[in-house]
Every structure is written in structure tokens, then in C-alpha cells.
């Protein structure tokens, strides 16, 4: 009868204050590891350090083809991978949380390091790809380090622009979405506008935005907001108008007024749908950010990317791509974390 509840309580208690053995068993179970798999760990433990050592060896072997500067930097990078892997392999004996995490990510790390090896072999090793378009990993790391000031600055500018545009778009989208979803006059007038204007990609407004707006930065923020506004409005409106009628009926027989119905019933009920809109909006905002920065705005990662391309410094292009990957996926992860917090009441959610 209460199976789910009992289980979740048990695990809460376990994480709270039980002996470490207990925690270890619990987290190992969570990642689907059997007792047998846990036993075989000594050989498996060495996978990542050995792979890192192999990568280091390959690098030192092909280093003669690379500029000494880059070579030294990349040696340090791979060396610290190796050292880190060794330290982690030793530490995990006394640190169960690290152990389960390592177990989970070992195949990923191994393959990741092997891919770096392949990259280095076909670039520095055999020179199979034309320069300057395909630099070696050492070249990319070196560009990243050389240009760290500008890269940091660009990331910061992108973050400010992205957040201001995204938050503006979310606020506007939630407002229009709730109006369209709740009131039928708003739906009558709002839906046609939404249907006609919404599907236009925000970047298509760039020519117009350049003419109207006093500054490129403001117009870029407005374009990002527009890109976010459409999916957020659409999914908020559909979430609100699909609120189960019986929730509203119950609330009305409990004495709820219109304000309570909108803010305490319809909006919470629409939250799963609203979050879908927020995710779609976030994707659209990344796209619009990069395009707007490479067209009009004179700062940010998008600008850096096209600037580096203009000078044919492809090492910097890849560096910017790596930073973008980390930057965007961090923001995406934060939104997922927020959703997991807000929607704890939902059954069976997809995890990021």
C-alpha cells in the first residue's frame, strides 16, 4: 500500500546518518552494480590511469612535430590527468561517493582520453588534416591559455547578455501565456498574433532590429527575449488551458477566488508544461545569442568565434567551442536542477 513512501524514507535515513558501508551499498545499488562487479574493481581501477599514461606516451612520441610551447603545455595537461587519475584511484578506497562516481564515469573518461589520442595522432602525428583548420589538441589548449583573458571576458559578456534576454523573455512569456491560457478574450486576440509572429525565427528580425534599436546590445537582448517568449508563451498557455477542470471545481467549492484559481491552481498545474517551454526557450536563446553576437554585438563568445575565424586562428575557434559547450551545458544543468526542485511532486521525471 505504501511501498513507494517507505522506500523513499529509508533512503533518506540512509544518506542522513548510517554507517558508510550502508551508504556505499545504497549508492552502488542506485547505479545498478552487483556485488560481483564490485569485487573486480582492482583491475578496472587502473583503466583510467593507464589510458592517461598511454595518451601521455603518444603525445611525447609525436611531440617533435609540434611547437615546443604547445607541446609542453599539453604535456602538463595530460600529466595532470594522469596524476589526477592515480590520486582518485587511491582515494576511492576511503571515499565511497568518489568510488561510485568513478565506477560510473570510468568508461566515459577512458573513451574520452582515447579520442584525444586519436585526434593527436591524425593531426600532429600523421598530418592527415589540413592546417590551419584542424589544429592538434595541444594547439587548442595553448590557444585557450594564451587567450584566457579575452575568453573569460567574452564568456562574461555572453552570460550577461544571455541572462538579461532570457529572463526578460521568460517574464514576458509567462505573462502572455497565463493571459492567453486563462482568459478567452486574450486567447481570441493573442492566439492569431502568436501563430503568425511566433514561428518566425528571432534571428530573422536582425535587419529590422539594427535599424530600430539605439544599441546593438539592447537589440540583441530583445531578440533573445523574443526567441524565448514564443515557446514559453505557447507552452504556458497550453498548460494553463489544460488544467484539469476538476482541480478548479474542487478549489471553487473550497471558496477560492479568481486569483487563487490562477496563481495557486492553474499555474502550479501548468508547471510541467511551463518547464518544457523554458527548456525550448533556453535552446532558442543560445542560438540567438551566438548569431546576434557574431552579427552585431562586439563582444561575447559568438563575436570571439567569428573574430578568430576572420584571422584564421582555428585553435581559438575550437577553444571558443569548448568554452561554449561547458558554458551552455552548465546553464542547461542549472535549469534541470531548478526543475527537479520545483517539480519534486511529479512522478517519473526524466533526469538530465
Amino acid at each position: 500500500m505504501l511501498q513507494g513512501q517507505k522506500n523513499s524514507r529509508q533512503s533518506q535515513v540512509t544518506v542522513g546518518g548510517m554507517p558508510t558501508d550502508y551508504v556505499r551499498a545504497d549508492s552502488a545499488e542506485r547505479y545498478g552494480l552487483s556485488a560481483q562487479e564490485r569485487k573486480h574493481s582492482t583491475a578496472a581501477l587502473l583503466t583510467v590511469p593507464v589510458t592517461a599514461a598511454v595518451a601521455l606516451g603518444i603525445h611525447l612520441f609525436v611531440a617533435k612535430n609540434e611547437p615546443p610551447n604547445e607541446s609542453r603545455t599539453y604535456t602538463i595537461v595530460l600529466g595532470s590527468f594522469f596524476a589526477g587519475a592515480i590520486v582518485a584511484a587511491i582515494m576511492q578506497r576511503w571515499w565511497p561517493a568518489l568510488q561510485t562516481r568513478m565506477r560510473r564515469f570510468r568508461p566515459l573518461f577512458t573513451v574520452g582520453i582515447l579520442l584525444l589520442c586519436v585526434w593527436e595522432i591524425i593531426t600532429s602525428g600523421f598530418r592527415m588534416l589540413p592546417l590551419p583548420y584542424f589544429p592538434s589538441p595541444a594547439g587548442v589548449v595553448q590557444s585557450m591559455i594564451n587567450d584566457r583573458g579575452l575568453l573569460f571576458d567574452s564568456t562574461w559578456h555572453s552570460l550577461v547578455l544571455l541572462l538579461s534576454g532570457y529572463l526578460l523573455g521568460v517574464a514576458a512569456g509567462l505573462f502572455t501565456g497565463v493571459c492567453i491560457g486563462w482568459s478567452s478574450p486574450a486567447r481570441y486576440w493573442g492566439m492569431p498574433l502568436l501563430k503568425v509572429v511566433g514561428p518566425i525565427p528571432a534571428t530573422a528580425w536582425i535587419p529590422l532590429a539594427m535599424v530600430i534599436s539605439p544599441s546593438a546590445l539592447i537589440s540583441a537582448a530583445a531578440l533573445i527575449a523574443l526567441a524565448v517568449w514564443f515557446p514559453v508563451t505557447m507552452l504556458t498557455a497550453s498548460g494553463i488551458s489544460n488544467t484539469r477542470a476538476s482541480y478548479l471545481d474542487v478549489a471553487r467549492t473550497l471558496g477560492a477566488n479568481a486569483r487563487y484559481l490562477v496563481f495557486r491552481i492553474a499555474i502550479p498545474a501548468a508547471l510541467p508544461s511551463i518547464f518544457v517551454g523554458l527548456f525550448m526557450g533556453l535552446g532558442a536563446s543560445f542560438l540567438t545569442l551566438v548569431v546576434a553576437e557574431s552579427v552585431g554585438v562586439k563582444s561575447g563568445l559568438g563575436w570571439y568565434l567569428s573574430w578568430a575565424q576572420g584571422w584564421a586562428e582555428y585553435g581559438k575557434v575550437y577553444a571558443a567551442l569548448v568554452i561554449m559547450a561547458v558554458f551552455f551545458s552548465t546553464i542547461m544543468t542549472l535549469l534541470f536542477k531548478l526543475r527537479d526542485r520545483v517539480l519534486v511532486w511529479q512522478k517519473g521525471m526524466i533526469r538530465w
Binding site: 471545481d249 467549492t253 471558496g255 477566488n257 511532486w345
Partner: protein, 261 residues
């Protein structure tokens, strides 16, 4: 506890036919019922006879085409916290914990500050204190329905409308819940109108049973239950009432003439 009387005079209600927008199908016709304050009355009838529609009219969620509905001789103008409604599906708000669900009635009326202390009492009443901070998807059907009852009761409704509240429960849970509802009713003496498919439940619980005909629903018969409480489901009085009502329901409709024989 204050209860209200309930009077329905010639109430009729029709809905647009699903296929033709212009014609309307009557669902209820000339329903006249009168409930004294503190009475527990059951509504029994074939499915589709408009029992739920009748409850929605009394709750104020819908309006009748004809006739009038009076609570304490005042016409019903819309939903009110004085008339609580519990559905077959508990309809708990899934985004609120058990405690917050029960509080919802107070929160909706802005009385949480004043009357927040009562929440505990109502959780005790339905024996759910241990589950205060649990989300509804962890609850079993019977527990969820108890939360729904507590949520409706916290407003101290003068009339409690129950739309097959125990219909989705298994037989044992249902019998236990019947006793719980009876206990609540005996403690609080709220006027209760219970829609049910279960004839045993109707006989076990109510002061009177109103039997409705097939659509459009009209009143077929009103049967007073004079058995002493607590009632024995296997006593001869119980069983003879049961077969009387079964017969009524079975012949209700096109072969009505044979019932009187």
C-alpha cells in the same frame, strides 16, 4: 455543528446533444427534494441519470434551466465554502503535500493565519498525521480519499456533497471508510447528500434513499431507512430493504408498471 437544510423545487437541467448543437437533451426533470439539517440522504440510480449533475447544481458549479435550489431558504448563486464536494477521484492537488492540501480551503479564503491550528486536528480526524509532508502520489486510494474528506471538512461546510466518494476503493477499504464517514457525520452532524452505485452502502449509511429513474432523471421513489445504527449488513431488515431496492432498480424504466404489482 451548524448544518443547513436543502430544498430543491422542480429542478430541471439539459445539456446540448453531443452530435447536434441545436437540440438539448434533458438530464434532470422536475426534481423536488427536501433535506432537513443534519440528515444523511443517498441518491441511487442507473448510470447517466444525472446524479452527479444534481450534485454539481447544489454545489453551485452549474446552474439549472428551471426550478430553484435553496440552502436555508436562500437561493444558490455559485460555489461556496459552505457546501463541500468530494468526488470519486480524490482530486488532490499533486503539487501540494498532504498538509497543504488539507489547508487549501483555509488558504483559499485567506484564513490560514487565523485558523491554521485546526489543520492538525483535521489530520488527526482522518488519521493522517504521519503523512503530513508526503506528496499525494505516495498515498493509497483510501488515504487519498481521506485527505479529500479532510480538505472538504476544514471549511466546516454546512452541507457535504459526496459524489461516489468510495466508488474506486476495494471492498474492505470501502466498508472501513463507510464507518469513518459515518463517524464524521455523527460527530459533526453536517447535512450530507451521498451519490452512490452501491445499494448496501446506501442502506448502511443513510436516513433516506432517493431512487432516480433513467435519463432524464426524475424521482422514482424515496425510501426511509428506519434501522438502528450501527446497522448490521446481514440483518433481515437490511436484506429485505436491499431486495426491495434491487427490484425497484431492476424494473425501473420501460417495465415500470410491474413494480407496483
Amino acid at each position: 455543528m451548524v448544518a443547513s437544510s436543502l430544498r430543491l423545487r422542480d429542478v430541471g437541467k439539459s445539456f446540448p446533444a453531443p452530435d447536434q448543437a441545436l437540440t438539448r437533451r434533458p438530464v434532470l426533470e422536475t426534481i423536488s427534494i427536501s433535506l432537513e439539517a443534519g440528515e444523511l440522504v443517498s441518491l441511487v440510480g442507473p448510470s447517466g441519470c444525472g446524479k452527479s449533475t444534481l450534485l454539481r447544481l447544489i454545489a453551485g458549479l452549474d446552474f439549472p434551466d428551471s426550478g430553484e435550489l435553496l440552502v436555508d431558504e436562500e437561493p444558490i448563486s455559485g460555489p461556496s465554502a459552505e457546501r463541500g464536494l468530494v468526488f470519486q477521484d480524490p482530486n488532490l492537488f499533486p503539487w501540494l503535500t498532504v498538509r497543504r492540501n488539507i489547508e487549501a480551503g483555509l488558504a483559499a479564503r485567506g484564513l490560514l493565519q487565523q485558523k491554521g491550528s485546526e489543520v492538525k486536528e483535521f489530520m488527526r480526524l482522518v488519521a493522517l498525521e504521519a503523512f503530513a509532508d508526503v506528496y499525494p502520489h505516495h498515498l493509497s486510494g483510501g488515504m487519498a480519499q481521506r485527505v479529500a474528506l479532510a480538505r472538504a471538512l476544514i471549511n466546516h461546510p454546512k452541507v457535504l456533497l459526496l459524489d461516489e466518494p468510495l466508488g474506486a476503493l476495494d471492498a474492505f477499504t470501502r466498508m472501513r471508510m463507510q464507518d469513518e464517514v459515518l463517524r464524521l457525520w455523527q460527530n459533526r452532524r453536517t447535512t450530507m447528500l451521498l451519490v452512490t452505485h452501491d445499494i448496501d452502502e446506501a442502506i448502511y449509511m443513510s436516513d433516506r434513499i432517493i431512487i432516480l429513474t433513467q435519463r432524464p432523471g426524475t424521482i422514482e421513489q424515496i425510501i426511509p431507512i428506519a434501522l438502528d445504527r450501527p446497522r448490521d449488513r446481514s440483518s433481515s431488515g437490511f436484506l429485505s430493504l436491499r431486495s426491495e431496492i434491487l427490484e425497484l432498480l431492476h424494473f425501473a424504466g420501460n417495465r415500470r408498471s410491474r413494480v407496483t404489482a
